[in-house]
Amino acid sequence: MMKGARWLIVLIVVVIAIGGLLIGRYNTLVGMEEKVNGAWAQVENQLKRRADLIPNLVETVKGYAAHEEEVLTQITEARSSFNRANTPSEYAEANAEFERALSNLYVVVENYPELKANQNFSELQYELAGTENRIATERMRYNEAVEEFNKTIRRFPTNIIAGIFGFEAKQYFEIDEQDMKVPEVNF
């Protein structure tokens, strides 16, 4: 009788310990998922911020180099890709497209000293460069959060909890190394 009671107590302790730890882990996962979502919202914010700079940029360039239609169309198209994008990888693609268009623009701008000297244009360039860096920063933080989350839900024993509650691995915001080069702005 004494021995049975003792084992019952051990069993209860074990159940409580495991239950407590499971709840703890589940809550950690929820917290981490929220962190990933928050980081993604920041990435999206910055991408939108840049998309919002585009009409102003196009207008300014048009004032000096209206017949550079090809570059201007490219930039406008990149903007509509932004608006269509839904998943991180689609956003990454639109982002790369825009960066290509922008570097083409900077090549063209070299032929228009008056445009380069334009106050509005130089301010836009700073805003674009700053936004570029914001995107890079928030993307880095998002990817770090995703890495942490993905690693955790694949690890034993958290993977069991993740499986039960349906936590799935998150998508990275990835871009080809080649596209990652930010166009140089020189004055």
Binding site: V14, Q46, E148
Partner: protein, 257 residues
């Protein structure tokens, strides 16, 4: 019973195993006074004192922090990434308002980046920061006059921050010579000259004693300490400052010269 305990212990350890993070780039610890970390030794004591005192007052009134950092080397990293990481580690500005700002100067790479905390992006948009770098900092840097460039940029930033918060910091009372940059240059008084000679004599005496008695141990240890000591300033204030936990998101502007 014993086995059960071991099993329990094992479960606890496994369930709580933490996630390991990838090694990061080398970011120094903040200096004692926090507001200036002058590894490349671009500023003299007066300039450092000016920046520290102005910040102490600014921080008391608004929680904002304007930190100036110079680094000897970026170790091949992008200056913008170094700035973001340093900002993150030091937590510049208050946690509540994220109103910090970091001016990072790498004289050997000839690059500058000003990283603006989330909360100061309103009064200091990228284009304004870019303009300050272009007009108030780079012209001095091009003449290798780092101190005046940093102070002039610092003053422009302070002016915008003052306007944002509707305050006036009594900078003039702290050091008029430094506030009026243009007039500062010619002023090298008799005592400053003497001070310089005394410092040099002091260093020579130190070296002789060190190498005679300690085989140069003190000298080597000073040089081998390398990163981790960024402030030569040891002024009247003994108050230690810390970051308030502010964050930034890559906003700001940079320049080369």
């Amino acid at each position: 019973m014993k086995r059960t305990c071991i099993l329990l212990l094992f479960l606890v350890v496994v369930l709580n195993s933490t996630i390991s993070y990838a090694a990061d780039i080398n970011i120094p610890e903040p200096s004692f006074y926090f507001y200036v970390y002058d590894e490349a030794n671009l500023l003299d004591n007066e300039a450092e004192e000016y920046i520290i005192k102005t910040n102490e007052e600014l921080n008391k009134k608004t929680g904002a922090q304007i930190v100036v950092v110079s680094l000897n080397s970026l170790d091949g990293e992008d200056i913008r990434l170094v700035a973001v990481k340093l900002f993150e580690k030091w937590g510049i500005g208050s946690r509540e308002y994220d109103n910090g700002l970091l001016m990072l100067v790498a004289p050997n790479e000839r690059e500058i980046w000003i990283e603006v905390g989330y909360g100061l992006e309103g009064p200091l948009p990228d284009s304004k920061v870019g303009r300050i770098i272009e007009d108030s900092i780079i012209p001095y840097f091009q003449e290798d006059n780092y101190q005046d460039g940093i102070i002039s940029g610092f003053n422009e930033i302070i002016r915008e921050v003052e306007e944002e918060y509707g305050i006036t910091l009594d900078r003039e009372n702290i050091n008029e010579d430094l506030y009026y940059i243009g007039e500062y240059e010619g002023y090298t008084g008799f005592f400053q000259g003497i001070k310089g000679i005394l410092i040099i004599i002091g260093i020579i005496v130190f070296l002789i004693i060190d190498f005679r008695l300690f085989n140069g141990f003190l000298t080597y240890s000073i040089f081998l300490r390398g990163r981790g000591y960024g402030g030569s300033y040891r002024g009247s204030s003994s108050r230690r400052s810390r970051g308030g936990g502010g964050r930034s998101g890559g906003g700001g502007a940079g320049g080369k010269w």
